[in-house]
C-alpha cells in the first residue's frame, strides 16, 4: 500500500528525495538548503543523505544561483533551485527571464534547460515585507517558462516529479501557508499530466477557479454556499502557464458563471487572462460577467492588515452572490 497521509512539506521533501535518488544528474541548490534543510525544512535531511555535492548551500545571491544553475543545466545537470521567499526572486528575475526562458529558443532547440525554480509564495503567515507575495503572473507572462502551483500534498509530490522531468524550465510556486496541511499521497499512481486542471468539487450553479493556497478557501466557500442551497464547482488550475482553458471552458459552459480567485493583485493578474479567454470561447454560455477576487493594487500590506488584503471566505462568497444575482 503506497497511500500515505502527509503534509505538503513532507510530500515535497519525499518527492525531492525520490528525484535525487532516481537521477544522479538532479541537484538541489539554494540558500540554507543543506544542514538546515531550508527555512521551511523542505530539503530536510537531503544533504545528509546525498552529500554536499548534490544538495548545495549557495552564496546569498539569487542571480548567481539561477545563473549557475543554467550553466549546470548546459553541462547536463537538472538543478532544482530554491528561492527562499517570493519577494527574494527579483535579483534572479533577469537570469530567469532573459536567459532561462529564452535560451532553448535562442539555440533553435539545440540546448535544453531542465531547471526547476521552487518559490514558497503567498501570504497568510504574518510575515514581514517581501515574504508574502504572489508574483506568478510576472513569470506566466514570459514565453519559455512553465508555471505551476500545487494545492495539496498529492499534487505537491507528483507535480514536483513532473517538473523535475520536464525539459523546460518550471517555476514551481509552493503555497507556503499550506505547507503543513495534510493529505493522502499515493506514491505509486500518477494523478495526471502536469498542466491539466482538476475539478476539486463538482457543482452546477457557478465555477470558482483557483490554484495554490486559494483552492482551500474556495472549497470552504463552496461548502458554505451549499448550506444555502447553492451548488458551486471548484476548479483547481494547478498550472498557470500554460493554463488548461479547455477545462475552464467546459465548466463555464456547464455553470454559466465564473469567479476567479487568487492572492495576487487582480490588476493584470491571471484572472484577467482567464476572464478574457472565457469571453472569447463561450460568451453565449455566460449568465454573468466573469468576476475576480484577489489582492488590491497596493504593495503587500503589513501582517496586521493582510486579512483585509487577502481573499477570504467572505470575499469569495460575496463575489459568488454578486455573480448569482445577475
Amino acid at each position: 500500500m503506497a497511500v500515505e497521509k502527509m503534509s505538503i512539506a513532507k510530500a515535497l521533501n519525499e518527492s525531492l528525495r525520490l528525484a535525487l535518488d532516481s537521477d544522479p544528474k538532479v541537484l538541489i541548490m539554494g540558500e540554507d538548503v543543506g544542514k538546515l534543510g531550508g527555512v521551511f525544512r523542505i530539503t530536510d535531511g537531503l544533504q545528509k543523505d546525498f552529500g554536499e555535492d548534490r544538495v548545495i548551500d549557495t552564496p546569498l545571491a539569487e542571480s548567481g544561483i539561477v545563473g549557475t544553475a543554467i550553466g549546470l543545466a548546459l553541462r547536463g545537470y537538472r538543478p532544482i533551485v530554491e528561492i527562499q521567499f517570493d519577494g527574494f526572486v527579483f535579483p534572479a528575475y533577469d537570469q530567469i527571464v532573459t536567459q532561462l526562458a529564452k535560451m532553448h529558443a535562442r539555440a533553435l532547440g539545440k540546448v535544453k534547460l531542465p531547471v526547476v525554480v521552487r518559490i514558497p509564495y503567498g501570504g497568510g503567515i504574518g510575515a514581514v515585507e517581501h515574504h508574502s507575495e504572489s508574483p506568478e503572473a510576472l513569470f506566466a507572462h514570459v514565453a519559455g517558462l512553465k508555471v505551476v502551483s500545487p494545492s495539496n500534498a498529492s499534487d505537491a509530490y507528483w507535480m514536483m516529479q513532473q517538473a523535475v522531468q520536464s525539459d523546460d524550465p518550471v517555476i514551481f510556486f509552493e503555497p507556503k501557508r499550506r505547507y503543513w496541511d495534510k493529505g493522502e499521497v499515493d506514491t505509486e499512481s500518477i494523478p495526471g499530466p502536469l498542466h491539466k486542471a482538476v475539478t476539486a468539487r463538482e457543482g452546477g450553479d457557478l465555477t470558482l477557479v483557483a490554484y495554490g493556497p486559494m483552492v482551500k478557501v474556495c472549497l470552504e466557500a463552496a461548502a458554505a454556499a451549499q448550506e444555502e442551497g447553492k451548488s458551486i464547482e471548484v476548479l483547481d488550475l494547478r498550472s498557470m502557464a500554460p493554463i488548461d482553458f479547455d477545462a475552464i471552458q467546459k465548466s463555464a459552459e456547464k455553470t454559466g458563471r465564473v469567479v476567479v480567485v487568487h492572492e495576487a493583485p487582480v490588476f493584470y493578474g491571471s484572472g484577467a487572462e482567464i476572464a478574457a479567454r472565457i469571453t472569447e470561447r463561450c460568451f453565449y454560455h455566460l449568465e454573468a460577467p466573469v468576476l475576480r477576487v484577489g489582492g488590491y493594487h497596493v504593495p503587500y500590506p503589513p501582517a496586521r492588515l493582510e486579512d483585509e488584503y487577502l481573499p477570504g471566505l467572505d470575499r469569495v462568497l460575496d463575489a459568488v452572490d454578486r455573480s448569482l444575482a445577475f
Partner: protein, 386 residues
C-alpha cells in the same frame, strides 16, 4: 572620512579636466605581461614564457588576419543593408586569437557578442555568426558542436553560465576548463561579481577573460572602476593578471597558464587583456562624439597584427609568398561570407512557433493553429481572386 573631505568629494568638478578622453591615461602599468612589443621585439617575462614554431607563429598571424578580414566584410555588409547591426572586434584580434588558441577542444567557451576571433578558433563557421546580426535567428550554431556557447547580449550574464558549467565540469571529474569572456563595462555588473564569488567558493575551473577595450559604448573604464580591473580578483581570493591584449603571444601564454591552473583544480583566474576597441561599439555607434582621434592613433601604433608581422619578417619566419597567399585567402573568405549572407533566406513564418518549449505547450499550439489558419486565409482569397 572627515567632514571636510566629504564636502570636498561632493563639490562639483569641472568635467572637462577629469574626463577629457585625449588626456586619459593610457598606461597599462608595470604589471602588464608582454612578450612581443608594439615594435615587434620578442621580450621575456619571468612568469610567462612561450616557445612557438615558425609554423605556429604564422598560424596565429593567419588567424588574426582572417578574423580582421571577416570583421571588415561584416561591417561592409551592414553598411550595404545586408546586416541589421555588427559589433566589430577591430583591434582585439590578439586578445581573442591568443586566448582562443590556448583552449583545448574539450574546453568550453562562453562569449559575449563580439568574440568573432574566438569563434574562429573554435571552428564555428563565420557565416553562422552573421545570422543573428541579419535577423534570421538569435544564434544559428549548435553550442555543443564546437563547445562555443551562443553569443550573450545582456552584459555579463554569461559569466554565471560559465561558472555553473565549470562547477559541472568539476562534479564530472573532468579536467577540462571553461572560459568566460566579458568586457570592462560588464565588470560593473552584479552577475560578474556573483560569478567571481561562486567560482571562488566552489573552486570552479573557469578563466575570466576580460577584454578591457577601454570603452563601454561611450563610457571610459574610469566610469567602471577605480582600481585596475585585474586587481578585483584579489578580493575574491584568486589571482588576477593584466596582459597586453594586443600581444597575441602574451595572451596565449597567460591564458594557457590560467587554463592549466584551472585543470589542476586550483580554481579561477581573472585575465585582464588590456586592449582597445578601434572601431565603434557597433555599427549604430558614433565614437567621434565621445573620444579623441589622438587616442585611437596612439593605439594604432600598438596594432596586434602589425607587430607580429614585423617580428615574423625580422625573424625570417615568413616570406613574401606567405603574405601574398594569405591576402588571397582573405579575399576568398570575404567573398564566401558575402555570398553566404546574401543567400541567407528569411525564416518561414511558421518558424515563429518553433523551439519556444522543449516539451511543447498548449498555448503555443493554439496560437500556432490560429496563425496557420490566418495565413491560409490569404491563400483562399488569392484563389478567389483568380
Amino acid at each position: 572620512m572627515t567632514v571636510e573631505s566629504t564636502a570636498a568629494a561632493r563639490k562639483p568638478r569641472r568635467a572637462s579636466k577629469r574626463t577629457s578622453a585625449a588626456k586619459k591615461p593610457q598606461s597599462a602599468g608595470p604589471q602588464l605581461v608582454q612578450l612581443l612589443t608594439p615594435e615587434g621585439e620578442r621580450v621575456e617575462h619571468p612568469d610567462y614564457s612561450i616557445d612557438l614554431s615558425a609554423e605556429e607563429l604564422r598560424g596565429l598571424y593567419r588567424d588574426m588576419v582572417l578574423t580582421r578580414r571577416f570583421d571588415a566584410e561584416a561591417t561592409a555588409l551592414q553598411r550595404q543593408g545586408e546586416l541589421g547591426l555588427w559589433a566589430s572586434l577591430l583591434g582585439q584580434e590578439a586578445a581573442q586569437i591568443g586566448s582562443g588558441r590556448a583552449l583545448r577542444d574539450d574546453d568550453y567557451v562562453f562569449p559575449t557578442y563580439r568574440e568573432h576571433g574566438v569563434a574562429w578558433c573554435r571552428g564555428v563557421d563565420p557565416t553562422n555568426l552573421l545570422g543573428m546580426f541579419r535577423g534570421v535567428n538569435h544564434g544559428g550554431w549548435d553550442p555543443n558542436s564546437n563547445n562555443f556557447h551562443l553569443y550573450t547580449i545582456v552584459i555579463g550574464s554569461q559569466t554565471l553560465h560559465a561558472t555553473g558549467y565549470a562547477m559541472g565540469v568539476a562534479k564530472d571529474g573532468a579536467d577540462s576548463a571553461v572560459i568566460a569572456y566579458f568586457g570592462d563595462g560588464a565588470s560593473s555588473q552584479g552577475d560578474v561579481a556573483e560569478s567571481f564569488t561562486f567560482s571562488a567558493v566552489y573552486n570552479a575551473p573557469v578563466v575570466f577573460f576580460c577584454q578591457n577595450n577601454q570603452w563601454a559604448i561611450s563610457e571610459p573604464t574610469e566610469r567602471q572602476t577605480r582600481v585596475p580591473l585585474y586587481q578585483r580578483a584579489q578580493g575574491y581570493g584568486f589571482p588576477g593578471v593584466r596582459v597586453d591584449g594586443n600581444d597575441v603571444l602574451a595572451c596565449l601564454a597567460v591564458t594557457r597558464s590560467a587554463l592549466e591552473r584551472a585543470r589542476r583544480g586550483e580554481g579561477p583566474t581573472l585575465v585582464e587583456a588590456f586592449t582597445y576597441r578601434m572601431g565603434a561599439h557597433t555599427t549604430s555607434d558614433d565614437p567621434t562624439k565621445y573620444r579623441a582621434d589622438e587616442e585611437r592613433a596612439a593605439w594604432e601604433a600598438k596594432d596586434p597584427i602589425l607587430r607580429l608581422r614585423t617580428y615574423l619578417e625580422k625573424a625570417g619566419h615568413a616570406d613574401e609568398a606567405f603574405f601574398t597567399e594569405l591576402e588571397a585567402e582573405s579575399e576568398t573568405l570575404g567573398k564566401r561570407v558575402r555570398e553566404a549572407v546574401r543567400a541567407m533566406p528569411d525564416p518561414e513564418p511558421m518558424a515563429l512557433f518553433e523551439h519556444a518549449y522543449a516539451d511543447g505547450n498548449s498555448l503555443v499550439d493554439e496560437e500556432r493553429a490560429q496563425f496557420a489558419a490566418y495565413q491560409a486565409s490569404f491563400a483562399d482569397s488569392a484563389e478567389e481572386g483568380k
